[in-house]
């Protein structure tokens, strides 16, 4: 290790030092663009039988668990699910919050890291943005499943009925609808804009049906000066504008709970607490996806390197600490407050039959991430980060489960207290998960997963410079 050599005062020759930089950093290990294009195209075209096996199994699962089971529920009514009085909202809403949370990682990486010019984001912005769009689709499924009369869901759209009655904009659910629609459209457009040059690249290198597919999607992009200027201006506007939209979406999701006059829900810290929670599970999901992409797709070891896991691991640690901070904030105020129903609720969380979940949440969201991610070497290991990301996602799912059905058990009418036992919604939840993976697998074979032009731009901007006897990395701002 070069670092050790430095510390031990062992003289090192510059050649091997630079070699070490190249090995470590994608941005310092440039390849001709043509070669990178080829690698990305190759990764898209190489499909093993294992891929099709998993794909087929997931497709069958989606057909059964999502569509068939949902059809049964629509025909039978919500009685086939586990919702009851007082837990009127069950796993449907848990999954909605969960999937919206997953979708926050894409925007965080592609917008916030772009605004702050964090260079390590370059190879995986698209992989993260795809999660945003596909995660929001699952959130949409979950919230529509939850409705008692889903066939009338268009009544929530901002359109009047024949008597000029519009939806009720006093309702947090109406805000939710507007916010999620804005976010879904915005993030899909933001996914598409930087994709246009890569679609043109794929168009130039394919034939047959793929040629037609990319030709249509690339819209006739050539890369003229004007096209680049319009595109970059738009991406800049999107990067800044989508950040407040992202914050508003999960804040409004939290307001679905915080606006209610219920013990445990009526909390002013829910907005930021939910946003951080969303990022927590989202970043966990990003490392899982990156570890799978790196491990299973061809040529991805060049683009996605331990340095990227290291960098995301650092972010995960910060977010985990922030989550702990907000959780404690919420908990302490409720604990100190002295309201008898809130006290009963907190006692129920910890000592009730689902108390194990409350402790597992803290273990997975705080203890394990802090224990692992402080160490630079550990957080550079893809498989270890995959495991931590998985545990964080389980922990965050537990968190939402505790906030929704478990907290709903306790209200101000003790006569109605009853525990929620999930029914068909378990299948439906599995269905959304399968559908998410299915969409992601299909996308990985249809659109270039690595934004090649952004990687090349980054590689052009990076260079090594000597300050005295030390070689350091410098980045020039090209924009």
């Amino acid at each position: 290790m070069a670092d050790n050599q430095n510390r031990n005062g062992v003289a090192h020759d510059n050649g091997s030092h630079e070699e070490h930089f190249r090995e470590k950093h994608l941005m310092l290990d440039p390849m001709p663009r043509g070669k990178m294009n080829e690698m990305v195209m190759d990764a898209m075209h190489t499909t093993s039988w294992k891929f099709w096996l998993v794909f087929g199994m997931l497709a069958a699962l989606v057909a059964y668990a999502l569509f068939y089971k949902w059809g049964v529920m629509i025909l039978e009514g919500l009685g086939v699910a586990g919702v009851n009085r007082p837990a009127y909202w069950g796993i449907f809403l848990v999954n909605t919050v969960f999937w919206i949370g997953i979708s926050h990682a894409g925007t965080f990486i592609s917008a916030i890291l772009r605004v702050f010019k964090a260079e390590y984001r370059r190879p995986f912005t698209r992989a993260a943005e795809l999660m945003t769009t596909f995660g929001l689709i699952q959130a949409g499924f979950s919230i529509f499943m939850h409705m008692g009369r889903v066939w009338l869901s268009y009544w929530l759209m901002p359109i009047p009925n024949q008597r000029e009655l519009w939806p009720n904009f006093h309702s947090p659910l109406s805000w939710d609808l507007l916010a999620i629609t804005t976010y879904l459209l915005g993030s899909t457009m933001y996914l598409f804009l930087p994709l246009i040059p890569d679609l043109a690249m794929a168009r130039d290198r394919s034939d047959g049906w793929r040629k037609t597919f990319y030709k249509v999607l690339a819209l006739g992009f050539r890369g003229t000066e004007g096209e680049w200027v319009h595109l970059r201006n738009a991406m800049n506007i999107f990067a800044f504008a989508i950040i407040p939209v992202m914050f508003s979406v999960h804040t409004i999701v939290s307001w679905d709970f915080a606006m209610a006059t219920r013990p445990g829900w009526s909390s002013t810290v829910f907005g930021p607490y939910f946003v951080i929670g969303a990022l927590h599970s989202g970043m966990g999901a990003v490392v899982m996806v990156l570890a799978v992409v790196r491990g299973t797709m061809k040529n991805m070891k060049y683009f996605i390197r331990p340095e990227h896991f290291e960098a995301i691991g650092k972010l995960m640690l910060i977010i985990s600490m922030s989550w702990g901070y907000f959780f404690f904030n919420d908990y302490l105020v409720q604990w100190y407050g002295g309201d008898k129903w809130t006290k009963q609720l907190l006692h129920w969380h910890e000592a009730g039959p689902m108390g194990w979940m409350w402790f597992a949440m803290l273990l997975f969201n705080v203890v394990i991430p802090w224990g692992v991610l402080w160490n630079r070497k550990w957080r550079s290991m893809p498989w270890l980060l995959f495991t931590v990301g998985l545990l964080i996602n389980v922990g965050m799912w537990f968190e939402r489960y505790i906030i929704i059905p478990i907290s709903l058990t306790i209200n101000r009418m003790p006569f109605t207290w009853r525990l929620y036992e999930p029914g068909i919604e378990v299948w439906l939840g599995i269905g959304t998960l399968a559908f998410f993976i299915l969409l992601y697998m299909a996308a990985s074979k249809l659109i270039p997963l690595i934004p090649v032009w952004e990687v090349q731009e980054g590689q052009m901007a990076h260079s090594l410079k000597k300050f005295g006897r030390e070689t350091v990395v410098t980045v020039s701002e090209l924009e």
Partner: protein
Amino acid sequence: MTTELKIPEYKLAEEESGKWGMVVDTDLCTGCQACVAACAMENNIPYVGEEDAAYGRSMHWIRTERFWEGEYPEVRMTDYQPMLCQQCGHAPCEPVCPAFATVHSQSEKLNLQVYNRCVGTRYCANNCPYQVRSFNWRDYQDPRLRPEITILANQFNPDVTVRRRGVMEKCTFCIQRIHKAQDLAKSEGREVEDGEFTTACAQACPANAITFGRIDHPETLVSQLAHSSRGVHHLEELGTLPRVTYLKGG
């Protein structure tokens, strides 16, 4: 010299009293459940079956809550507590519905549920501090699905809608009876008199524990009872302006 602090007056959208009100005397209530049965017959409320009822899906618009104090075997019963929609003046269930399916009647000062606007988000039920809303978890009223209720379908009240799956419902203060009485009074060119009609639960109560009427007229029975020193409102501190008064500790 003191300067007078001018605090602008906060005006409630609906005045404290409301229009229709109910008084439940828990000292008289025997827990016989006659009100529950009468309400179900008057308002076409389905019976949901043992399994769903045990799982917290019973659909009664009025329920008799039963509590006890102490540990077995030293158990002491407390008063029965019939619980129904409190027809809040500032109802938490109303603003959270995205479809305007639960709204406030400005003329009757009642909390209405519009069945055919309801899309079943169940937000209102979550936000009801009294937990008195019932949801149609299944098509309980469809004789094609439940042949055992075919005969029950013959006693449906024609004045009340039969609800299908996915719709929220709750106590209406028997609004069909209110309208019938008002229509009759109007056709005879007079005001509705106190005691001329009452809700199904009040009518059925053998102990006369439930009284219903105009709470904004000081001379009515319900108004006088509601203003007695024994009257309390449930969860009054939430600012919901409940229209049901409970009398206890007589």
